[in-house]
Symmetry: C2
Subunit: 115 residues, 2 copies
């Protein structure tokens, strides 16, 4: 017997009509993932490196954080679907997920224009 | 003797070059204000009522929350500069701040285009 597939709720624009509790939860989760200065700086760093995956070993110094701390924040950003991870030999490399740009612009949209 | 005016750091686009620690903090604060399902639903409700200030007495029922809880969330949204408050007789009324739309679109911008 297989379990029924779980419904995954997606974030929706802040101006969406009739936002459900589950959609509000998913939308808040996305904002929460960015509600931390270290994660804002990580996304900022990844956004300014032209899309090329960045080795986690090159993030610790500009962020001024230990590698376990950077890894923790990366896990949060991964879970939120904002970054993607690629293992290259010993080191994990991270890049902004291509649809993160659209996802974030979508939820931050208060004008009701779905992009 | 007057104290030197305090520097207020503003949120900046996620794709901004050379984001400072203070700017990362201010940007994270804005996301943090929306990192809660109740506050997402409040902003959603205010976004769908055509800009007219809404009495806090009319928010408790659709949100399914007590008035002190709604007031607490309103304080967070006020502090983040996302809503504005107007006292009408006994009741506080709230509306989305006109520049909140631009502010949010600005920080969520991962494309480096300042709007």
């Amino acid at each position: 017997m297989t379990a029924a597939p779980e419904t995954i709720y997606c974030c929706v624009p802040l101006s969406a009509e009739l936002m459900s509790d589950d959609e509000a939860e998913a939308t808040a989760d996305l904002f929460k993932a960015l509600g931390d200065p270290a994660r804002v700086r990580i996304v900022n760093l990844l956004a300014t490196t032209g899309g090329e995956p960045v080795c986690i070993c090159n993030l610790t110094e500009p962020l001024g954080l230990s590698q376990p701390t950077v890894s923790h924040h990366m896990k949060r950003l991964l879970d939120a679907g904002l970054v993607e991870r690629e293992q290259r030999g010993k080191w994990a490399h991270f890049a902004l997920k291509s649809d993160a740009v659209e996802k974030l612009a979508l939820v931050a949209d208060l004008k009701g224009v779905c992009r």
